[in-house]
């Protein structure tokens, strides 16, 4: 098998995705954590996506995606202020959320700095754009569904050559 990344490397990313998003949602907001999905590539992105690249003992990309309405709701909840449009502050909020999710997950893996690195978050507007984030493997996805829409976390990891 070409791609032999151990399953244990995937789970911290999804665990922190769910944990950090749950912490933001008010207690009276209904949400559901959906099952894992293996995603066909390329896949259609949401309105807003945040990408963090990972390199080291394995390489990969993590992409968190959501529609504009969800992004605004999350940004308002995190910042404690109303946000009318997805401008600089809201972009910063969502990017920082992704940075925290990936950073916390990588911390839990317990690898050294030589073994794993990750990039700063890159936010982009991606509605209707089809994207492939894995080179030769597959993308695992999990989403949290709320009343305003879904937040999805996509992860592709491959063994480094």
């Amino acid at each position: 098998m070409k791609n032999q990344v151990q399953a244990k490397y995937f789970s911290p990313f999804f665990r922190y995705f769910i944990k950090r998003v749950r912490e933001i949602l008010p207690k009276d907001v209904q949400y559901a954590v959906d099952d894992f999905m293996i995603r066909d590539e390329p896949f259609t992105q949401c309105d807003i996506s945040v990408l963090i690249g990972i390199s080291g003992v394995f390489t990969g990309r993590s992409v968190m995606g959501m529609d504009t309405r969800v992004a605004l709701e999350l940004a308002e909840m995190l910042s404690g202020q109303p946000i009318d449009s997805f401008e600089k502050d809201a972009q910063s909020v969502i990017s920082e959320l992704m940075n925290i999710i990936v950073g916390n997950a990588v911390s839990e893996l317990g690898l050294t700095m030589d073994q794993i690195k990750f990039t700063p978050p890159m936010l982009f507007y991606s509605r209707a754009v089809k994207t492939r984030i894995s080179e030769s493997g597959f993308t695992l996805m999990r989403q949290i569904t709320t009343g305003w829409g879904s937040i999805e976390f996509n992860l592709s990891l491959e063994q480094s050559i």
Partner: protein, 126 residues
């Protein structure tokens, strides 16, 4: 007891949201925010100009990372007081930061109370 002159801070993080969170937490406790920086090299330049009693600085920064910026600040002032913050903590990274001269290392996300506790401890220890 922390003197009012010591309650002045330079905040360094490339996330405007994170800088805002830190600023609000500190201002509620009577701290003055001298300035903010988004990059490590800008942080070093502002440190040189302002001589802040305390710096709160992210590790992953554009152009010059936080550890390198910390080292540059220490060259300017060996008594520089810097608290490092990051979404990533490994034993190695924490050791690297503390060896470079950081006084504390906080993992994001942190509660405002934890930040204030760390800030007060660093300033009281001077």
């Amino acid at each position: 007891m922390i003197s009012p002159d010591s309650k002045k801070v330079l905040i360094v993080d490339d996330s405007s949201f994170q800088r805002k969170l830190i600023k609000y937490a500190l201002q509620r406790e009577g701290f003055e925010i001298l300035d903010e920086a988004e990059t490590g090299d800008d942080a070093v330049e502002k440190f040189r100009q302002l001589h802040p009693p305390l710096v709160i600085m992210d590790i992953v920064l554009p152009r010059m990372d936080g550890i390198t910026a910390l080292q540059e600040m220490k060259k300017l002032d060996s008594n520089a007081k810097v608290i490092m913050i990051s979404s990533y903590s490994s034993k190695e990274k924490v050791t690297q930061a503390l060896t470079a001269g950081a006084k504390q290392y906080l993992l994001k996300p942190f509660e405002p109370e934890k930040l204030i506790e760390a800030t007060n401890k660093v300033l009281e220890d001077s």
